[in-house]
Every structure is written in structure tokens, then in C-alpha cells.
């Protein structure tokens, strides 16, 4: 099994590879059509978050996710996938729009974390993240989240509260980057490999711990497989009454102890 062939830290490195598929690759492979929307209607458009409507097997789906960029120029432009408050507020806006038109929501998570910067803090990073989490908790339409690469800290969680959470086999998802974790606990960021080994951040660990519903194998048929899963799962979730959906989502997060 692949799970045993790579250490947790090797997976962290794999999840961070620049050549790894990014949000546009998934959008192109999964949707027949996609229209991107911009802006938070408050201050600016955060390019580290992509949002819009994709058509999945005839069904419009609101798609929101992080964008890291694939070369230095893109990475700088998209701030390495580190989102500012405006990005989370754009996400909130698009989720509210999805509710209004009864569209399900797909989120794709791949971020080193929320941006730790002066402007981000001045514009209320905490408030934007808590608002996004709250919105995903009370979203009246079905939601699916896929952790595709790196999912670090509250910056990832803000987009990862959903009815179903899936994860690619080489993706990682954790409370903080292993470097940040090692820095906080041992004042030594270089112990990141040791930290990664203890954090239970791999897809298999997180599935065992009950945070992930499905681990998706990264083979040639990856996007084809995701597409099929999405069509079938959105169909099933669409049959659940809103009240019941919200009740189940509450229970999903309520039980974590």
C-alpha cells in the first residue's frame, strides 16, 4: 500500500510540490464549463482564492478554492496560496450566492495557511476566517470539500467545513504547518519532519481519526474518479432535506472530542 511507502514528512513535501495539480487543473478536468467571479464587494479581489460556477454533468456548482501558482511569477501574484480576509469574504459572498440559487458548493483546499501580514491583520483576518467557518456551518445547500494539496491551519479550515470531506492520498491536512508546529512546541522549526510524524496529518491517519470520509487514490484516473464521486455524492446530498442536512453537519463537528 502506498501509505506505508512514504513517511508523513515525505507526503508533506509531495503535497507542496510546485508541479502538483492546482485548482484550474481540477476545474478544467471536472467541469464542462466554468465562469469565474471576482471580489468581496468590500475592498478588493484576493487572487489567492478562485471562485465561480462550474457545470458538473449539467448541474451548476459553486466552486471555491485556493490557488498557489505554478511558477515564481504566479506564486507571487497569488501570494503562494496564502489567503487574506478579502479572499475569505469573497468565499462567503459566493456561498451566500450559492444558497440564493440553490447550488451545491465544492471547495478545493490547498494552502500553506492564511496570510500572516500587516494588512491581513488590519483588515480582520480572524473575523474573516470565523465568518467563513460560520457560513459553511449554516450553508443551506450541500457541500463537499476536497483537500487536494496542503491544508494548514485555520486558513485551510475556513474552506473545509462541509457535508463530505475528501482527501487526496498525498495531501496533508493539519492544525499548523509542521514547521510552525515544531517552532511552537520545541522552538525549533527544523524539527518539522519529527513534527510531521507525530501530527497525524496524512490522509490515512485523518480517515482513521474520522475527519475524512474518502481518501482518493492519485492515479491516472484521478479526476475521472473525482468527477464520478462528485456527481453521485451531490445527487445523494441533494435528496436530503435542508433541515436534516444542517442537523447532520452540526453532528459531524459536534462529536469531535
Amino acid at each position: 500500500m502506498n501509505a506505508e511507502s512514504l513517511s508523513a514528512y515525505e507526503r508533506v513535501q509531495k503535497a507542496r510540490e510546485t508541479k502538483r495539480a492546482g485548482i484550474y487543473d481540477y476545474i478544467e478536468a471536472l467541469f464542462d464549463d466554468f465562469m469565474e467571479f471576482h471580489g468581496d464587494r468590500l475592498y478588493r479581489d484576493d487572487p489567492s482564492i478562485v471562485g465561480g460556477i462550474g457545470v458538473l454533468d449539467g448541474m451548476p456548482v459553486t466552486v471555491i478554492g485556493h490557488r498557489k501558482g505554478k511558477d515564481t511569477g504566479e506564486q507571487i501574484k497569488y501570494n503562494f496560496g496564502m489567503t487574506s480576509p478579502e479572499g475569505y469574504r469573497k468565499a462567503i459572498r459566493l456561498m451566500e450566492q450559492a444558497e440564493r440559487f440553490n447550488r451545491p458548493v465544492l471547495t478545493l483546499v490547498d494552502t500553506p495557511g492564511a496570510y500572516p501580514g500587516i494588512e491581513a491583520e488590519s483588515n480582520g483576518q480572524s473575523n474573516a476566517i470565523s465568518g467563513c467557518i460560520a457560513k459553511m456551518c449554516n450553508l443551506k445547500t450541500p457541500s463537499i470539500c476536497i483537500i487536494t494539496g496542503e491544508g494548514n491551519s485555520g486558513g485551510a479550515l475556513a474552506l473545509a467545513v462541509a457535508d463530505r470531506v475528501w482527501m487526496l492520498e498525498n495531501a496533508v491536512y493539519s492544525i499548523l504547518s509542521p514547521e510552525g508546529f515544531a517552532s511552537i512546541l520545541w522552538k525549533d522549526a527544523s524539527k518539522s519532519a519529527l513534527a510531521a510524524g507525530l501530527m497525524r496529518l496524512t490522509a490515512d491517519d485523518l480517515k482513521n481519526d474520522g475527519f475524512i470520509d474518502t481518501v482518493i487514490k492519485e492515479d491516472d484516473k484521478l479526476t475521472e474518479h473525482i468527477r464520478k464521486l462528485l456527481i453521485s455524492e451531490f445527487h445523494d446530498l441533494g435528496n436530503i432535506r435542508t433541515e436534516e442536512l444542517l442537523k447532520k453537519r452540526y453532528a459531524r463537528y459536534r462529536k469531535v472530542m
Binding site: 492564511a114 496570510y115 500572516p116 501580514g117 500587516i118 491581513a120 491583520e121 488590519s122 483588515n123 480582520g124 483576518q125 480572524s126 473575523n127 476566517i129 470565523s130 465568518g131 467557518i133 460560520a134 456551518c137 449554516n138 491551519s153 485555520g154 479550515l157 475556513a158 467545513v161 491536512y173 493539519s174 492544525i175 499548523l176 510552525g180 508546529f181 511552537i184 512546541l185 507525530l198 501530527m199 497525524r200 496529518l201 485523518l206 481519526d209 475527519f211 452540526y250 463537528y253 459536534r254 469531535v256 472530542m257
Partner: protein
């Protein structure tokens, strides 16, 4: 009776009640309990959910030893004290972080107490007051900690949706997973002067941007200026300020004597 008469009568009432309050006990109390004593009517606090203990969910090396050290007599209330109390005879659900216990960090026990408190407050129709002082999510519980952000956010959101008044008080320091979840979801957000409040810690920001942070950055006054909090309240004035806020909501669904 004129509106002025009503207010002066009320002020006299407050003064009388204030006089009637006995001074706080001299005994050295834990920080959270001490704050509750200062804030609430004498002997009105009834602590709840004291039996919760962490299950060491990711079996983090040394974690249980650390907990045992902090909980030598077996009755430490973890990093959050919750219960009911009265403020000038108005019954409230109140919770206070204890920064003396692992920096007030939010692990499974803290998250569970906050969720239980919000659910209790909703059921009993009590105003909800939470004082936060926390470094954020508790590293030693990994993803289980991160998920407490969702658990607490959805609990306070449900409470608010049911008509409850949530007053969130940010004290020094309130950062990370606490500032980015329930703590910034208050109907009214108060902060104590000079408190450090933000998502990313100042050290992380400095390392990321490679420059020194401006004086007063991420302090309460800075947040007030940037529109993130409602008001700054001195600790000595907190009891009366909260009482006034409760009075303003009296007659509302959740604020009755």
C-alpha cells in the same frame, strides 16, 4: 416619570447593588475564577462541566504527563471555566479562559465546554458571556484541536440564531484558532485595553514580512480603529458595562431576571 428619572433611579440602583457586594476573597484563585468573582454577584457562580478530561486524541508524547502536572489534585478545570452566574441579579451563562492552563489553548475539553455552554444557554434562554485569553488551538491535540474551531463556532451561531445575546470579551492575549472562531462571532465584542488580539502571532508576521511591526499593532486600540471590535472596556468597568448591555437587551428573549 421622565426618562432621566428612570436612568437616575437605575444608576442609584447600580450604586446600591455595588455597595452591597462583598469584596473578593483574599485566597489566591485561579485567573479565570478570580475574573468571575470580580464580574458576578457574590457566590452566584455555579461551575459546570468540570469532569471533562482530554483523551489525548493523537497520543502526543509527554502530553498526559503535562496535563497530570497541571492537574495534581485532579480538580483542575482545564483551560476554560464555565457555568452560570448572576450579574446584578441577571442570570447569565458565563465562560472564561484560563491562560494559566497551557496558555488557555483550545483543545477538545475547552471546545466541548464552550459548545456545551452555548447549548445550555440556548436551552435555558440565558445571555452568553465568554472571556477569551488564549494562544489559539492546542498543538498537542492536532486536528482534534483545529476542529474545535468549527464545534465552537457552530454552537454559538446556533445559539445566536435562536435569539440569544452573545457578548464576547477579548482579553490578553486572544489569537489563532480562538480569535478566528467563536470569539469573533459575538453580537457585541468587547476588549480590554492593550490586549494582543489577532490571527497570526506577531513573531510569525515579523518572520514572514521581514520587518518590525509598528507600535500598537494587533492591540485592542488598533482593532477598534480598524472596526473589528465594539468597544474597549477597562477591567474595573467590565461588570457595569456588561450589566448595561444586559439591561439594554432585557425584555428580549434571552435576557430576563
Amino acid at each position: 416619570m421622565s426618562i432621566n428619572d428612570i436612568f437616575s433611579k437605575r444608576r442609584r440602583g447600580w450604586a446600591k447593588l455595588e455597595k452591597a457586594r462583598k469584596p473578593a476573597k483574599k485566597k489566591q484563585l485561579r485567573i479565570a475564577h478570580k475574573r468571575i468573582e470580580q464580574l458576578c454577584d457574590d457566590k452566584s457562580f455555579k461551575e459546570m462541566f468540570t469532569r471533562l478530561r482530554t483523551a489525548d486524541p493523537i497520543k502526543f508524547p509527554g502530553y498526559m504527563e503535562k496535563i497530570a502536572e497541571l492537574d495534581q489534585n485532579g480538580n483542575a478545570t482545564e483551560a476554560f471555566v464555565a457555568g452560570t452566574a448572576k450579574i446584578h441579579r441577571i442570570k447569565v451563562a458565563i465562560g472564561v479562559s484560563d491562560p494559566g492552563f497551557m496558555m488557555g489553548s483550545m483543545g477538545t475539553v475547552v471546545g466541548e465546554k464552550i459548545a456545551l455552554l452555548a447549548e445550555y444557554a440556548a436551552k435555558k434562554r440565558l445571555p452568553l458571556i465568554i472571556f477569551s485569553a488564549s494562544g489559539g488551538a492546542r498543538m498537542q491535540e492536532g486536528m482534534f484541536s483545529l476542529m474545535q474551531m468549527v464545534k465552537t463556532a457552530q454552537a454559538v451561531e446556533r445559539y445566536r440564531a435562536a435569539g440569544g445575546l452573545f457578548i464576547s470579551c477579548l482579553t490578553h492575549p486572544t489569537t489563532g484558532g480562538v480569535s478566528a472562531s467563536y470569539a469573533t462571532l459575538g453580537d457585541i465584542i468587547l476588549a480590554e485595553p492593550g490586549a494582543l488580539i489577532g490571527f497570526a502571532g506577531p513573531r510569525v508576521i515579523e518572520q514572514t514580512i521581514g520587518e518590525k511591526l509598528p507600535e500598537g499593532f494587533q492591540r485592542s486600540e488598533f482593532l477598534l480603529e480598524h472596526g473589528m471590535i465594539d468597544m474597549i472596556v477597562e477591567q474595573a468597568a467590565m461588570r457595569e458595562t456588561i450589566y448595561k448591555l444586559l439591561k439594554l437587551h432585557e425584555g428580549g428573549m434571552f435576557c430576563e431576571r
